[in-house]
Symmetry: C2
Subunit: 284 residues, 2 copies
């Protein structure tokens, strides 16, 4: 149960990415728990909804008083051959249908990188661009934004060939030069905090209307694991408050979505994790 | 003992960073072993030379038929207070004296980042800039180049607030706007391979005459440890050959220096490590 002192914080501006809770409970329970703690939003993963009716889950979320801040996450685009690439695009098309059925404003893309046994980042980037280009009209029709999430460069080998906000924005501009919209970025402090050009790129993202999602957590020193050792907001060395002010300074008034992959937090009770999310949110 | 088939490779263009051998043997033995394997250069660390006469070690290196490709590495600049910062600058000044005594063409700077308990990257960057600015005239007088090594962004919390080649070059230009020289960059494929702007930045580094060192190794997928799980050149996913061609395309004709931090390689015999270095060098 939430500490009542936490209820007084503006948690309506905070969303919980379900990965933060470790995908331990059925989505229905997670929705109720997130709402009970006073958060304003939720962002589920595809894996949480397997075999379910996305429309009903979306209705449950709204009935619980929550908004959707996004839907996670894209199937990696690059394939070792054309057939693999096309299968990846088709899977992402299905995910866009699911996002639309849920009522999610955007679908978050972790774009993938080098197919096994390859070293050609330029080719991976080219496949990502083609995949997003193929999906953009479809997603616009469905009313689902394509949110490209640049990942930390330590994932450049396997998870994302898009490694900085500047790169993601340049990709968006190349696919939507007239700024019709429908494609933008998900900015996660974990992935971009180190970048000397971050302030400049956040301003550019704001000017071009591309900020579709804002994710928070923290970078621990030392970090013990490349994937599962994120800190809760405020636990680490990222000046999340400064980044948040810069993002809100562009006019962004959406959620701060808490996304923490952490063996440590996943071994903590879901209620305690949510209490920590609220405390971390208050710290920024 | 080296495989004779390896002797036919142009190892004279390859240098061994002593960290690659795990700092297991006295520097005199390491020099002899590196020369025996047919490499053309060596780059020792300060820790290898503690309590020794740097002038004599430099002479030993040259008598063994080796050149110095650099001297490693800078004391982190940022300090929690002014006195700490100044002590760090003073320590780097002593290191420049050592590099000059050795006869090393450059001293490699890993610049440091956030002092413990702080989150202000801009302040860390400002301290780095001031520290290098203070040292530059001294290093020019000593004939030792200041080689700023941008580190992979996964080290932004503790080891280096300079996280890309573009950032390092911009810093060099700000400290040496008239391109008098004496300050440049050490480009390590491990730290920069993911960067979408790498080709552009390598070309710019070449044009401005800033490439002082070129380090090779590889990025493993998966990487098990943020610090001690580098691959030998050719073992991982970096297209080292392409990066090397781009660097040499700018006119760089210095060494490719093998720098591998790896628990796995450090548990392999020094001769086997050197044979693997030669094989990896041949692969690029």
């Amino acid at each position: 149960m939430p500490d009542t002192s936490i209820r007084s914080l503006p948690l309506s501006r905070c969303s919980i990415n379900t990965a933060t809770l470790g995908h331990r409970s059925p989505i229905g329970e997670v929705i109720e728990r997130v709402a009970r703690h006073g958060f304003g939003g939720i962002s589920p993963w595809r894996r949480d909804l397997e075999g379910q009716d996305h429309r009903l889950v979306g209705r449950h979320i709204r009935y619980a008083g929550l908004s959707l801040s996004g839907y996670c996450r894209g199937t990696y685009f690059p394939g070792a051959n054309r057939a693999a690439f096309e299968a990846n695009v088709a899977d992402n098309r299905r995910a866009i249908d699911e996002a639309a059925a849920l009522g999610a404003p955007c679908f978050v893309f972790v774009v993938g990188s080098l197919p096994e046994g390859t070293k050609d980042l330029a080719d991976a980037r080219s496949q990502v661009s083609e995949g997003l280009s193929t999906l953009l009209p479809y997603a616009r029709e469905a009313g689902v934004g394509l949110a490209v999430e640049p990942l930390h460069p330590m994932y450049a080998g396997d998870r994302s060939c898009i490694t900085s906000l500047g790169e993601a924005l340049t990709l968006c501009e190349s696919l939507d030069p007239s700024r019709q919209g429908g494609i933008g970025v998900a900015i996660d402090v974990y992935h971009v905090w180190w970048d000397w050009r971050l302030s400049v790129d956040i301003a550019a993202a704001g000017r071009s209307g591309r900020i579709m999602a804002f994710h928070v957590c923290d970078w621990l020193v030392p970090t013990q694991d490349l994937l599962l050792d994120r800190g809760m907001t405020g636990e680490g060395v990222i000046d999340v408050g400064r980044i948040r002010r810069e993002i809100e300074g562009t006019g962004y008034d959406g959620f701060a979505e808490v996304e923490v992959f952490s063996r440590r937090w996943w071994s903590t009770s879901e209620d305690d994790v949510l209490a920590a999310c609220a405390k971390g949110f208050a710290s920024i």
